[in-house]
Amino acid sequence: MNIVVDQGKCVGAGQCVLAADDVFDQRDDDGLVDLLDAHPPAERLADVKHAAAVCPASAIAVSE
């Protein structure tokens, strides 16, 4: 799996952190997305896809 995040689009909603906090975090200084793991194992796919789907700014792209 490969994940790309766009900090320019991110609005700091934190939805991705709720969906998969082992993969996404929010930076302390500005609250924007911090990608902890760009290549998580395949069994995390459902949660990562959910994170991308609920991102209000469509700032997460996932490819398998």
Binding site: V11, A13, G14, Q15, V17, Q26, R27, D28, P56
Partner: protein, 404 residues
Amino acid sequence: MSIDAERLTLPLPRPNVLELAPLYEVLRREAPIAPVTTPAGDPAWLVTRFEEVRLLLGDKRFGRSHPEPEKASRVSTAAVQDGPTGEYATEEADHTRMRRLLTPAFSAKRMRKLGDNMEELVDGYLDALVAEHERTGVVDLHHGLAFPLPVAMICRLLGVPEEDNEKFASLSERMAGTEIGDEAQRAREEFMRYMVGLVEGKRGALGEDVISDLVRAQADDETFDYVQMVRLCVGLLFAGHETTVNRIGLGVLFLLTERSRWDALVADPDGRVDAVVEEVMRLGAPGDLGLLRYAREDVDIAGVTIQAGDAVVLSINAANRDATVYSDAEEFNPDRPERTHLGFGHGAHFCIGASLARTELRVVFAALAKRLPQMRLAKELDQLQVRATLTGGVAELPVTWRSA
């Protein structure tokens, strides 16, 4: 049922505080973007289908400001989300600056860390309610829990004295009032004066709180208008408690009006509370309108042309019950396969307090299920006093756990 060729007038009357007007179902199917007359008597577009509501929330051709604010349609006689706000020319930059300033203070991680603190607070409120119940047999969860928790949390985050809660709660209530005419506008002005007093009182001794952060940022940035800063503080204090107070009330009603829903949560509070909270966010439908936007240019969508300057009311309530998106859309079912909803909005204006609200709701519903498993409503749903405000909800939540 079909739609009259004439313009509909909002609000569409609803059967009770938990259900929506049946007409929304027809609108979603036959006229997902319909011309309507607002409660203020002005023309607007009402958007009811999930797809279009989500699309327009994320579309930069729609904003909160208007090039000629005095000519803009007004959607409500309340003094919140009633008309355009902000400067048309600088709206996006102003909004981006605001998000940058506020996002760290409301991040998911920080809100989770407040969870333990919230649990202690909620335990204290429940102790007091249990003691009262021993004397009276019936207690009001609205005054004893739904109101004080969000108020205490937003006061701590913003740096507002908690002892002012009656003052700002009453100002919020009047500011959002839909049946009090100009009184709502007067309440907004009074709220602004209250906030100016608070801001100026802090200025000499700024602390670690959101209002202090905003005062510092405004002092350091000459493009950051003072009135805009004060208005933002008012908005945060208003939205930071009003919305969650209502949502706790609606959630309790969904759970207690159908015993099997409550029993399922009681059986496994920690395992089920997250899904319950999301379903309360999806199905809870506060207020009768929706989120307000103005078109910044002409937009063709769903068979209509929305012209630049037109007002658009995005019905989150209707979108979250769209049968083309949700199976048994009107049913309260935390186990549903669909995991998304628009309860916190979408796009650039996505609720900045979403993680705060989720944490509060989880703590409240888990604690209620653990400590008061026998709880039931002490009044019929139809007898509960509904608030005549833009954000709706109930003014009382009488419950009992006496053996019947």
